[in-house]
Amino acid sequence: MISGYLLTILITIVIYAMLAHSLNIITGHAGQISLGHASFFGIGAYTSAMLYTEAGFPFWISVPMAAVAAGIVGAFLGIPCLRVRDDFLAITTMGINFVVEAIFLYLPFFGGAMGIGGINLPRWFGREMTKPEYFILILVVFGLLLVLDRRMGRSWIGLAWASIREDEQAAGAMGVDVVRFKVLAFILGSAIAGLAGGFYAHFLTFIMPQNFGFGQSIVILSMVVFGGIGSRWGPIVGAIILGVLPEVSRPIMEYRILIYGILLLGMMRFQPGGLLGPESILPRILRRSVYGLRGPG
């Protein structure tokens, strides 16, 4: 039997993997940098929490609604982001994160600094779900999202995103509706982050604005970049490694942001494609061992 502590870590990691995956749609696939992804995580968590505690909706409705709400807000916030690019987009999304966090913090409606408590694990078959069951539930949901991502990657939508990431102006000249596909990426990425937020709220049972601040956005971005931006498995591997590290030793937990920062700097210098990027060391070693070929150089 897996211990409760281990399960907590496992569930946290799947939620982080879901977040990294959702940011990867916006930043990796469509090439739009976002420094405010935690805001959609927060919008999902708060939507689910409020619907559950205030309006009395069950988990099975509040969590999908969290995805819908985050997706809608993502679409609206995505629109001003369409007018800016690169470094300006980074600053705009960062600003959005501060605004969203401040709204949760200062509006009494959202519980202020105390946050919202009394959110429980979902019920099924007339009883509350156990932690292992909850773990399997979010794992299955995440698996479905990955299947969907694979399908998207092979579709014209994935191709349109790739062309926008490479060169927006050339993409437009090739018939790609840049605005539509960017908004689509923002909606999908935000909705999945919202979903992760719903799962998070019901697992943690109480939420606070600080969980969804700028620091959290950087943690998510670090996972994506560390694992390999744009690749399907990279962000997941990044979420697992950076998610496990702080649990292995307390000192790492205390200096988490510092260590993430150093890791990011190191990655940018030596492996800009991330661990699983197309030209990085790890895939080369794997290929070599699978095919018995000598890598280039």
């Binding site: 349109a160 090739m174 018939g175 790609v176």
Partner: protein, 248 residues
């Protein structure tokens, strides 16, 4: 009816007149040369026709319909393909995928259709035919960034042809190419013309322009200063003055 008719087209960038009252018409199966000294407004003209910028005033009629307020993707879907002065292939995608992006113009308008997989036998056949025609076959699975410049330019043309265009805008295709490369590229452009596609060609190499074009428009400081056959242009005093300066 002309394929493309441009009437009194002007563009200002914050008080700077980049283009002023330019009018001309382009016909099907014809290659219209656009020449002029640096800064004459040639690339601005292409950016207006392809919808990158909105004109300050004037009118643009393509196949009988105004394209004045259309976005780049709408204009390209109507059948105006373009290449760029400084090549802009999708660098980290291979040649095949580069062409595929443009073939997708049929699917992008519908969210439902665009969620279908793009690797389908019929579509790949079309892509390979275009790659073959543009002489890119040996590079099919190479990343665009690894191609020599001449082939990047071919790729841009292949990509533009994938739109099934009625009009091609070519922005200095021979710039930066060696003589043989440039000759081969011109051969490709001639083949395009034979299909009845109209071409607007911006070109600095006078040899190329005089060889290919039956009609030439000359721009200088944003205005059209001459239009006519290569012979007429060559002997036009205004054109000579624009290029060589006034005799003092």
């Amino acid at each position: 009816m002309s394929l493309l008719e441009v009437r009194a087209l002007s563009k200002e960038f914050g008080g700077l007149r980049a283009l002023e009252g330019v009018s001309f018409a382009a016909e099907e199966g014809e290659i219209l040369g656009i020449i002029g000294p640096n800064g004459a407004g040639k690339t601005t003209l292409f950016n207006l026709i392809s919808g990158v910028y909105a004109p300050s005033s004037g009118e643009m009629i393509f196949q009988g319909e105004s394209i004045l307020r259309l976005k780049p993707h709408q204009i390209s879907r109507l059948g105006i393909g373009r290449t760029f002065q400084i090549v802009r292939p999708f660098q980290n995608l291979d040649v095949e995928t580069n062409v595929l992006v443009a073939l997708g113009h049929r699917y992008y308008p519908s969210l439902w259709k665009s969620s279908a997989p793009y690797r389908q036998p019929g579509i790949l056949e079309e892509v390979h035919a275009l790659i073959e025609r543009s002489g890119l076959r040996p590079y099919t699975n190479q990343l665009a960034k690894n191609l020599p410049l001449g082939f990047k330019k071919r790729l841009e043309i292949a990509r533009a042809l994938a739109l099934g265009p009625r009009l091609l805008l070519l922005d200095e295709p021979s710039a930066g190419l060696r003589f043989e490369e440039s000759t081969q590229l011109m051969e490709l452009i001639r083949q395009v013309l034979e299909q009845g596609i109209g071409v607007l060609l911006i070109e600095h190499n006078m040899q190329v322009v005089m060889d290919l074009c039956k009609r030439i428009v000359v721009l200088d400081h944003g205005s059209k200063i001459a239009e006519g056959s290569p012979e007429e242009i060559r002997s036009n005093p205004l054109v000579i003055q624009a290029y060589l300066g006034k005799e003092t």
